[in-house]
């Protein structure tokens, strides 16, 4: 199996670092470049994770998709609540875009990690 969990944790660590960097400077204006670089690297790891999974033979995709869609729904709700708190605080402009995209990576990568961990121990075909 490819190192999906390790890549996933690294990706989450990158968006968390970007979020901390931005949050630590609010409400002052802050150079967005470091946060954008961290977000881009995180998104790259997400893409690399998906790509590496597609190359695995006999992977239980049925289970991955079954678990993934419900986890996606759950984490989209939690991401939505956090986004709501950002909007309610009047966050706008570049920091809002970067934090929103970070939440998108979070809401995609966590369900992917959950679905992968379940599917790696499942039968390739439903019994």
């Amino acid at each position: 199996m490819p190192p999906v969990t390790q890549f996933g944790m690294a990706s989450l660590a990158l968006i968390v670092a970007g979020g901390i960097y931005l949050a630590a400077h609010l409400p002052q204006s802050v150079p967005l470049t470091p946060a954008i670089i961290l977000l881009a690297l995180s998104a790259l790891l997400l893409a690399a994770n998906l790509l590496s999974l597609t190359r695995v033979h006999d992977f239980a995709w049925w289970r991955f998709l079954q678990v993934g869609r419900w986890a996606l729904l759950a984490y989209a709700i939690t991401a939505g609540l956090i986004e709501y708190a950002f909007l309610r605080n009047g966050l706008s402009g570049g920091p809002l875009v970067v934090l929103t995209l970070s939440l998108v990576v979070y809401a995609l990568h966590v369900p992917m990690l959950i679905a992968f961990t379940v599917a790696r121990y499942a039968e390739p075909q439903p019994s």
Binding site: G8, I20, R63, L81, Y84, R88, F116, V118
Partner: protein, 207 residues
């Protein structure tokens, strides 16, 4: 419907029942009835953020933050080590009753704590970079960030995967063992990080 697991590995056999197969009680991976209190909490959280007043925000942040800290400390330092020493049938029985609840409890308390905490910090001005204890606030971001990566990347997937394994007609004890170890160790690490949270939060509250 209850299922049965294969006999455990030789090292665990002493603790297993003499007949070999272990009965696994029926359970729901996500308890549907539990979704009702979760929905109520999230609705209350949205209202608390919308009204933006001190008491509801303080309530959500303190009450759910305390629940998060206590659950992590209890799981990491009390229940986790006990779980690791239980016989295989007792561990399976405990797991099928505890883990589905954790699937709902942890994301709910974490989301409520963080969302209400962010709004509260905005209301009180403690998240502003000009706040005199700003260094401690940033330290709390770092600790929470570390906990989030560990919980989301390791603990939560292991929690759900062990439940799916236990739902199989022939669960594999080695996989259950591996996932439970991962769950217990990460819970211990989170418990240790929660001590740092307690230090930081009491310092911030004390001024």
């Amino acid at each position: 419907m209850a299922t049965t697991a294969e006999p455990p590995a030789p090292s665990e056999a002493a603790a297993a029942p003499p007949h070999g197969a272990i009965t696994i009680p029926d359970f729901e991976i996500v308890p549907r009835l539990g979704l009702i209190p979760v929905a109520i909490v999230f609705a209350g959280l949205v209202v608390a953020i919308a009204v933006n007043e001190l008491w509801p925000l303080q309530f959500f942040h303190v009450a759910f933050g305390a629940a998060w800290t206590i659950v992590d400390l209890f799981l990491g330092f009390v229940l986790g080590p006990i779980l690791g020493r239980l016989s295989v049938p007792a561990r399976i029985e405990m797991t099928t009753r505890l883990m589905p609840k954790m699937v709902l409890i942890m994301p709910t308390v974490v989301t409520a704590t963080l969302a209400a905490g962010w709004q509260l910090g905005h209301l009180l001005g403690t998240v502003d970079s000009g706040y005199y204890n700003h260094g401690w606030i940033v330290a709390s971001y770092i600790v929470v960030g570390c906990m989030a990566v560990i919980a989301l990347g390791l603990l939560e997937p292991a929690n759900i995967a062990v439940l799916f394994e236990l739902k199989k007609k022939q669960p594999n004890p080695a996989i259950i063992e591996r996932l439970m170890k991962r769950f217990i160790y990460t819970a211990g690490i989170l418990g240790a990080l929660q001590i740092a949270t307690l230090v930081i939060m009491t310092k911030i509250a004390s001024g």
